[in-house]
């Protein structure tokens, strides 16, 4: 655990005064290792360490704190700063329905998260429609349909290319006075030019208010690259981190937040449709430190 490693470096006694240069050099490499083992992207780690160093130089050790506790506090605060900022609410469109497009890599949890989001919106008094735009994966449409039935939410699909399905879904919502449209899309690789273009096509047809990247909490170094490409190619307005009910440290959260520059809005904490929570930067910060 980082805190223990830092304590053995900096000593057990409470002490007054400021952190010395030698204190700092010793702890920075430990912190770097901790972040790498938490799967934070190496470039994001380097940037984080640079900024942390500035925070630590001459930092006053708060009275009653041991030096390593002061350092852990500085790391924690910086993590919260990196992870937070930006509202965790879905932006509502001034002209309903609000369209939310869910995107991400294969198996990240998009279809399940679409249902969770619909459930969340329903419980907040909204009226969402789930729209199945994944025409590739066997039984993907059935999967979303079954989930929609489970939570008693409208479902839309038609036999057409994904941009047409999305357009049809928005029309369906308008006709029925539904105020949210959630588009489930197929999992895709960020370097798959054809599939990334498909997202651009869907986006251009229905102009979503929210484009949300769904990221698996156990994703490693590549999370940064994925976020960057999705951001640049399609545009992103938010992120949802899934499978946070496991023991992955979740460093991907830091990489994605930093690189995509958009807020993490929710976290998936289980397989059931009510296992969705608002994102709390302080909780994830604590988890990344370990």
């Amino acid at each position: 655990v980082l805190s223990d490693r830092l304590r053995s470096i900096l000593g057990k006694a409470s002490r007054k005064g400021r952190l010395s240069v030698s204190d700092i050099d010793n702890v920075l490499s430990e912190i770097k290792v901790a972040l790498i083992e938490a799967d934070v992207n190496i470039k994001v780690v380097r940037e984080f360490i640079e900024e942390l160093k500035v925070d630590l130089v001459g930092r006053e050790i708060a009275s009653g704190l041991k030096p390593h506790e002061e350092v852990v506090r500085a790391v924690y605060e910086k993590l919260v700063e990196y992870l937070g900022g930006g509202g965790s609410d879905l932006v509502v469109s001034p002209s309903p329905p609000t369209v939310v497009m869910m995107v991400g890599l294969q198996g990240s949890g998009k279809t399940t998260t679409c249902a969770k989001l619909a459930n969340f919106l329903k419980n907040s008094g909204r009226h969402p429609v789930l729209v199945a735009c994944d025409v590739y994966r066997p039984a993907a449409i059935i999967q979303l349909k079954v989930l929609a039935e489970t939570i008693n939410v409208d479902f839309f699909h038609k036999d057409a290319p994904p941009p047409e399905i999305a357009k049809g879904g928005v029309l369906y919502a308008k006709e029925r006075g539904r105020d949210f449209v959630i588009l489930d899309t197929a999992g895709r690789l960020h370097m798959d030019e054809f599939m990334m273009q498909e997202l651009v096509n869907i986006r251009d047809v229905v102009k979503p208010t929210e484009i949300v990247l769904v990221v698996d909490a156990m994703t490693g170094q590549e999370a940064a690259n994925v976020a960057k490409v999705f951001k640049e190619r399609v545009g992103l307005t938010g992120v949802i981190l899934t499978k946070m009910d496991g023991d992955a440290r979740g460093g991907a959260a830091l990489s994605v937040r930093k690189v995509a520059g958009v807020p993490i809005k929710f976290v998936g904490v289980g397989e059931k449709v009510d296992h969705l929570e608002r994102f709390h930067p302080d909780r994830v910060a604590g988890r990344i430190i370990g």
């Binding site: 992207n41 079954v146 499978k243």
Partner: protein
């Protein structure tokens, strides 16, 4: 790093950063870097090409002993496929079934994921595409029951192989790991032997958590092989190096895409070359 590897701390930093970016765990990267430093000091490693060769050889040395093949000695041979959520188990089962069918084996699918929405339909859709029968029960029924049914049918109808799909499960969920143990017991009671293969499906995009996955699944039900999927992505799948270093589990296949033919035997040499592509 520069053409004439004046091996300084900058070079070492760059190499470390590259290996970390592959998702090779920090422990293993550290080990490789330390061995590199020793060899540099003994003047064995002089140029950029030397460094690259040194590292490739090191990684190859870790991976080569773990190359493995499918062991299907019994009739019917039982393959149990497990792993955390979304790694590609169901798709990989389809790929395996297709591969074995091409070798003229009679393959049966067992829809052991009775939990997730449309999991049964997904496996069955794949089975229909490639002409493999899927044994299933109602959504929500006990997976042990489906497995029992499937094996009985395989025995009575002379199938060569049964491939059992299971629900994705996080290794930290005790009750779900217990369920897996129970499925294994059902197989053993019915066949009087261990499953021929218990394959752990890992996602190449996963970071350090893959090590925990290997550890916990191995401890719970013993793993006879690993399949690493999604290597068609930009991820290098370096966690497999850490797993090969830590556990004596053979690596049998890699998944290289979403189509039925996108399954290859694990080749340590090819894998190492691809790392540095």
């Amino acid at each position: 790093f520069g053409e004439r590897a004046e091996i300084d701390s900058d070079t070492i930093d760059q190499i470390e950063e590259m290996l970390i970016s592959f998702d090779i765990s920090y422990n293993v990267v550290n080990k490789i870097i330390n061995e590199l430093k020793k060899d540099i000091n003994s003047k064995n490693v002089k140029t950029k090409e030397d460094i690259k060769k040194f590292i490739k050889d090191k990684i190859y040395g870790i991976l080569k002993p773990r190359e493995g093949k499918l062991n299907l000695k019994n009739k019917p041979s039982i393959i149990l496929v497990v792993g955390v959520n979304g790694t590609g188990k169901t798709t990989t089962i389809a790929k395996l079934g297709y591969l074995l069918k091409k070798q003229n084996l009679e393959v049966l699918f067992s829809a052991g994921d009775t939990f997730r929405a449309a999991a049964i339909e997904q496996l069955e859709a794949w089975g229909n595409r490639i002409g493999i029968t899927t044994i299933k029960q109602k959504q929500g029924s006990d997976p042990g029951g489906v497995v029992y049914d499937s094996i009985n049918i395989a025995i009575s109808k002379n199938y060569d192989v049964v491939i059992i799909d299971t629900a994705g499960r996080l290794h930290t969920k005790e009750n779900l790991m217990e369920e897996l143990k129970k499925i294994r017991r059902v197989i053993e009671k019915l066949t009087n032997r261990e499953p021929d293969e218990i394959l752990l499906v890992l996602d190449a995009l996963t970071g350090h958590n893959a090590i925990n996955q290997a550890k916990y699944f191995k401890e719970a039900i013993n793993i006879t092989g690993i399949i690493l999927t999604k290597l068609d992505s930009t991820a290098k799948g370096g966690i497999i190096v850490s797993i090969a270093d830590k556990f004596d589990i053979p690596i049998k296949f890699i998944g290289t895409g979403e189509k039925i033919e996108d399954l290859e035997p694990f080749d340590a040499h090819k894998f190492v070359d691809a790392l540095f592509d």
